[in-house]
Structures are given as C-alpha cells and as structure tokens.
C-alpha cells in the first residue's frame, strides 16, 4: 500500500505549491538551456513572472559577460554530465548583485529528455557574517589562521601575515606553522596551548602564546584547526618586571620590618637606659634613708631592750619592712640595669656551690636545699655578680612559692619544701636548673610570667623572672620554664660554653 502522503504529492498543484514555498530558488532548463520551470523564489530573483521566463535563455535577462559565464557553465553540465556547484554573484533586476551558491545537475527524464536542474541558495546573510568575522579577526591583537587537515592554510588574518612575514596562506605561513609544530608535538591537530619563541622575520625571536583548537569539523569534508598566536613578549617582560617588583617589595617589607624592630629595640633600649638611670637614682635616694632607719631601729632596740617595753615585735616589723623595701629596690635594679657583662671563664660548679652555701643561710629553715653539680669542673664564661642575682631571684621565688615568708607552717604549700639546684652539660651548653616541689604554675601563669610587672604574689614587683631572663639572655643563653599545677616548677638557665659578644650599654653611675 502506498502511503497516502505520497498519493497527495502526485497532485501537481500540491507539488508546485511546495516548490514555490521553498527558501531556495529552483529552475529547470531544457537541453537548449531555455527555462521550462521557475519557482516563485527564482522568479523573484530574476524579477520576472514565470510566464516571462518560460522559453527564454539567461542571455535574455543577463548582460553579455555574465550571461556567457552562465551559458558555459550550463553547457558543461548538460554535455559533461558533471554536477556543478559554484558561488556566483547574481545580478538582480533592481541592479543589485546577490551572492548565491548555485548547484546545477543534469537530469534525464523518463520521457528521454535531458534537463538541467538548478538551485540557487542566497548567501547574502552568510557572506555578511563571514565578512564580519573577517573584520573581527583583522582587528584583534592576535594572529589567527585556519589550518586544513592534510596541509594548507585556508585563512589567515593580517596580524598572522605580519608574524610570518608574508602570505599567511602561502609558503611563509606554512613555514611558521612548521616552526610551531617542531616546538610543540601534536600541534596543530591536538588541542593545545603553549608558549614558545617565534622567529618573526626581521625581528628578534618573540615569546608567543600559541593556542590550537585541534582538528574540528567546521562543515567541509576535511577537518581544520583554528590557531591563534598572541605576542606575549611584552607581557613576559611585564611579568618579569612584576616578579622583580614583587621580589623587591618583599625585600622592602622585610627590611621595613627589620627597621621597625631595630627602632623598637632602640626605643626599648633608650627606655631601659632611662629606667636604669631613674632606678639607680631612686635606689641611691631610698637606700640612704633606709640605712638611717635601720641603724636607728638598731639603736632603739639596744637602748630599750632591757626596759621590757614589749616593743620587740614592732621593731621586728620595722626591720622586715626595711628588708622588703631593700629587696624591691634590688629587683628594680636587677631588671633595669643592663650594664656590660664582665664575663670570665670560671668553674661554674665551684662558684655555684659557694653562693648556694651563702644563700642557704638566708632561706627559711623549713626549706631544704639539694645541690647536684654535674659539670665536672667545666669552665663557663659568666658575670658572677649578674648570674648570682639571677640565681638569688630564682631561689627566692622557689622558696616563697613553697613557704611564703617561711614564718607560718600552716600556710606552707607543701609538706617538705625543698629546692634542688642541678647543673649539667648538654652539647655546647650548660644548664643550671632551680627546681622546687611547690604548687607549680598553670599554663596561663607560665605564659605571662616573663612579662615585666606580672606577679602572682600578694607582694612583689613582678620583675624577678624578667630580670632573670634578661640576665641569661645577655649571656647569650635562655630561660626555660617547666611546671604544671601540683607538680612544682623548674627554672632552667641555659648558658653557652663559649662567650658571646655582649652589646649592652653601661648603665648610670650612682652610689
């Protein structure tokens, strides 16, 4: 059974109506190249109704040269039997020309007659777009070319022509493409992006960024690749300059930081010098009256001792007050003085044994002292007066942490308060560890204990540990603090075995 759809197509009116409504102009010529049919669009193109066309030749509508061209073309199709496809410019009656894609083929009809079937597709829009794209590629700062698979460059924009130094679609273009293919295997068939030096004729090799789309189907039978070439030599130079600027910026920032640190250090040093002078003056001015008070108290004690006035505890309080005041002054001096160290290599263990013996006398009786010396007579460069201040501070802190003033056993923080002083050598350093079995310190306290003026005591300047750290740092060493709540505290002074350059200034001279 035949499809009813095809039955309807057998109706000539339907068929003609379809042909008249196609967006392609269709014409049929007989063997003598006279029109035998023209659809509506073809009539419009020529500008004549079909009746005016039938039986006429191209020469009846087109001028000499154009008509001859068509005629020769038509003959080749009719006689040679070869289908012809060509782009033509067709003149219209209005005088305008129109780009068309013409296809002409020979048809042998069932009645034995030979016909030429022609179609014209309007290329106006396509040509317009093509021209736009070409104009676009002419204005971009990029070399653009279309390479056909199997060789040949079908399009190159003006900038590519400049880069290859001649005809981009000719030998010069091919030579540049070959250069790029050598630089990057796979180019241009494989989609890629690479930077390479391109020898531009008559110029220095330039850094170029090359991009290829790889083989693409763009409509024809063969595939082609769209390649763009961007001159990045200036960008490369800019990038290099940028990197250099960035490097210099970093360097500058680092130097600025160093400068700021040096300034801070100078300011700090300046302040410390001022503080040192101030403290020295205050120490001198306070210690003189303190001396007079102490001596006078001593005299009072002597004069009144036998009179049973019951003033012993008051006198004792005065004396303790004097000691406290003196200790505060000493701590202020320890912290604010940064005089040049007078380092001499000395047997640290022997020296330490000596000062510990002396120091033990001044500690509350409840506190036991263990000294474990392990330096084996090692000679260590240090300033005895300063280092003694550091150790006195640490031992006093340890004692106070465990027994306070030492006068009220009910307030002791531990049952058997003891301080161990230990020395040992580790590599090129020696350490003096002052360890107690007191209440220890929380992480928060450890974090802040090196800060000047930070104190956990009800009395105290908060300058003890900072002074110790300053002294040991001045020796080129460091202060290590280990403690946890309930487990005592260990303060370790690390000192180098070789003397370091001491840059600190002499402080004020007052006595």
């Amino acid at each position: 059974m035949e499809n009813p759809k095809y039955q309807r197509l057998r109706d000539p009116d339907v068929l003609l109506s379809i042909l008249d409504n196609l967006p392609t102009s269709i014409f049929v010529k007989d063997e003598n190249l006279r029109f035998v049919y023209s659809n509506e669009l073809h009539c419009q193109m020529i500008g004549k109704p079909e009746e005016a066309l039938i039986g006429k030749c191209d020469s009846d509508f087109y001028r000499g040269e154009e008509a001859e061209g068509f005629l020769a073309n038509d003959r080749a199709v009719i006689e040679g039997g070869q289908t012809n496809i060509s782009e033509e410019m067709a003149s219209q009656e209005s005088g305008m020309t129109m780009p068309v894609l013409t296809r002409k083929a020979r048809l042998k009809a069932p009645d034995g007659n030979i016909y030429l079937i022609g179609t014209n597709a309007d290329l106006t829009e396509i040509k317009k777009r093509e021209n736009q794209y070409r104009a676009l590629t002419a204005t971009v700062p990029v070399g653009v070319l279309q390479i056909e698979e199997g060789g040949g460059i079908s399009f190159s924009n003006p900038l590519f022509n400049v880069y290859c130094g001649g005809d981009g679609c000719g030998e010069e273009g091919s030579s540049l493409v070959k250069q790029l293919a050598e630089a990057h295997p796979g180019f241009p068939g494989v989609a890629c992006k690479f930077e390479g030096n391109v020898q531009v004729p008559g110029a220095e090799p330039r850094a170029m960024l090359v991009m290829s789309s790889g083989w693409l189907h763009l409509g024809g039978e063969k595939r082609s690749a769209i390649v763009s070439i961007i001159d990045v030599s200036e960008m490369t130079e800019l990038r290099r300059i940028n990197e250099e600027v960035s490097r210099l910026n970093k360097e500058l920032a680092a130097n600025m930081k160093k400068l700021a640190e040096a300034q801070d250090e100078l300011v700090k040093k300046g302040r410390m010098e001022q503080l040192g002078q101030l403290t020295a003056t205050v120490a001198h001015e306070l210690r003189n009256p303190l001396g007079a008070v102490r001596t006078s108290t001593f005299l009072l004690d002597r004069k009144l001792r036998d009179k049973n006035l019951g003033i012993e505890s008051q006198l004792d309080r005065i004396n303790k007050g004097i000691v406290r005041c003196d200790n505060i002054i000493t701590q202020l001096l320890d912290f604010s003085r940064s005089r040049q160290l007078a380092c001499q290599p000395e047997d640290l263990d022997s020296w330490l044994a000596g000062i510990m013996e002396e120091m033990a006398k001044g500690l509350p009786q409840a506190v036991s002292i263990n000294v474990m010396l392990g330096l084996d007579g090692a000679m260590v460069p240090f300033d005895p007066a300063r280092l003694q201040r550091a150790i006195v501070n640490l031992v006093a802190n340890a004692s106070e942490a465990m027994v306070g003033q030492g006068d009220d056993p009910s307030k002791f923080a531990c049952a058997s308060p003891s301080i161990s002083i230990m020395t040992r050598r580790v590599g090129e350093e020696v350490c003096i560890e002052v360890k107690d079995n007191g209440p220890g310190m929380s992480a928060e306290v450890i974090a802040r204990i090196r800060e000047p003026l930070f104190t956990t005591k009800s009395f105290g300047t908060g300058l003890g540990v900072p002074a110790v750290e300053q002294i040991v740092t001045q020796h080129g060493g460091r202060l290590q603090i280990d403690s946890e709540p309930g487990n005592g505290a260990a303060f370790t002074l690390w000192l180098p075995l070789t003397a370091v350059e001491d840059g600190s200034q002499d402080d004020a001279k007052v006595a």
Binding site: E285, N288, G291, R339, K509
Partner: protein, 121 residues
C-alpha cells in the same frame, strides 16, 4: 679585750652618718663625722683615724677619690665603703686602691659591728 677606736664616718646623708656614729659610740668608740670627701681628708689629717666607713657618692669630692688621696698620704689608712648602688668603676677603683670591703646600703649592722670588733681586736 677590744680597744677603743677612732672611727671616721663619711656620708653626705646626715641621718645615716649620725645614726651610725651613735651606734659606734654606744660600743665606746670615738667617732668623727664628715659629710663629703674633702672633709674626710681633713679629718684624716687632723685625727688619728683607726678605721673609716665611707659613702661613695658625695658632693665636692666622692668617697673613692677622697680615699685615694688619703691613702696617698696615709698608706696605712683602713677604709670600708658603704654604697646604696654599686657604681662598678668607682668600687673597682676603691678596691684596687686598697679598700678593705664594701657594704651595701642599708648596711647589715651585724656585719658592720663584727668588722669594727675585728678592727678593735
């Protein structure tokens, strides 16, 4: 049996100088008080001084320079220093010049009296 000494106390701080003088007097020593370095030199010239207790920083002439001059005239002079704050260079100079000891102010009176006792022995 300790002997009576002529003790020179030199301090520009009068309260200090006088309270110390009184203390020594209580132990039956004779005390001369001077308030600066120049007066100390005069005191040594005018008196038979057995032992001196000198402050360091004083107006007119500091204790150490005064001591050096005294030591030049009286090589046997016995002098101790008392200082509120160690001015290291001056103290060094004093010790090198023959000072017998340095007490930190406020001085430990037990130590000072023990020193005097030893001088008197």
């Amino acid at each position: 049996m300790s002997r009576q000494l002529n003790i020179l106390v030199v301090d520009d701080d009068a309260a200090n100088a006088e309270s110390l003088a009184e203390l020594f007097q209580m132990d039956n020593h004779r005390v001369i008080v001077a308030y600066d370095g120049k007066q100390a030199i005069d005191a040594f010239s005018l008196n038979q001084v057995d032992v001196g207790f000198f402050d360091v920083m004083m107006p007119n002439m500091n204790g150490v320079d005064s001591f050096i001059e005294i030591k030049d005239k009286f090589p046997d002079a016995r002098v101790y220093f008392m200082t509120g704050y160690s001015a290291d260079d001056l103290i060094d100079k004093a010790v090198k010049g023959g000072a017998l000891g340095v007490f930190s102010k406020p001085v430990d009176l037990g130590k000072v009296l023990a020193t005097v006792e030893a001088e008197a022995a």
